[in-house]
Subunit: 151 residues, 2 copies
Amino acid sequence: MTEELLGANLKVIGIVRNGIRQRPESGWQGIVSELVIDSHLTEALDGLEEFSHIIVIYWMHQVSPLDKVATKVHPQGRQELPLVGFFATRAPYRVNPVGVTTVRLLERQGNILKVEGLDAVDGTPVIDIKPYIPEHGAISEAKVPSWVTKR
Amino acid sequence: MTEELLGANLKVIGIVRNGIRQRPESGWQGIVSELVIDSHLTEALDGLEEFSHIIVIYWMHQVSPLDKVATKVHPQGRQELPLVGFFATRAPYRVNPVGVTTVRLLERQGNILKVEGLDAVDGTPVIDIKPYIPEHGAISEAKVPSWVTKR
């Protein structure tokens, strides 16, 4: 088997607006972004405002297809952390640069969702939004390698 | 703004194998699947086995591009639940039929990941795998609409 093109027509459903051009040094916590969703899709957002958190699926467009994807990386670019395969990290350099982040939904106004904690720069294309439903996403007893919590 | 094609070359990184042709009546809990990842990507999985849970991102290929996406749906097809926009549900009928599910990683053997709880039928293309890191995905105080927990 070799990696095949899916032949999928991925569509942009909206754009991230937060004025941020690169990863903030202090991280993304507390960063407020607006997701400006295609106005034709406004009604498809109805009911989302009843959720406190949503899952944003986006395309990390700053990763050029010409960038070579290294098989192994140091998580967060920190040399003191062990080299692991990119699938064991959230690094943007991966076969498909799809980002998935659970964020707090602060407000919905029509086709605009105001969210907190999204780790995406200004202009990032959004490809899907899903409600955060704890039974599908919250794991109380998750185990992670020790490098994850190393400060 | 209208929905634009992203022009992204989405690649298949692996395939779901579980022998299941349609949603089991009793749900997906406890269902064990194998994710057969492209053997060229085996090393990119190194270190993933240290996580108890992973996030599987997949393409719901049984949704035909010719299927009309209804703006509003009854969650889980249950008529007694309120009509909400599809972005407020996990319905497969959405602009981009991308599925995102957190599952337990039971075992890794080379390029094969054995997982529990994936809600995808046999043959589903996998497009990404990420580690489940509680600080990026677990929300202890999430609020959901009452229909979510209605039995």
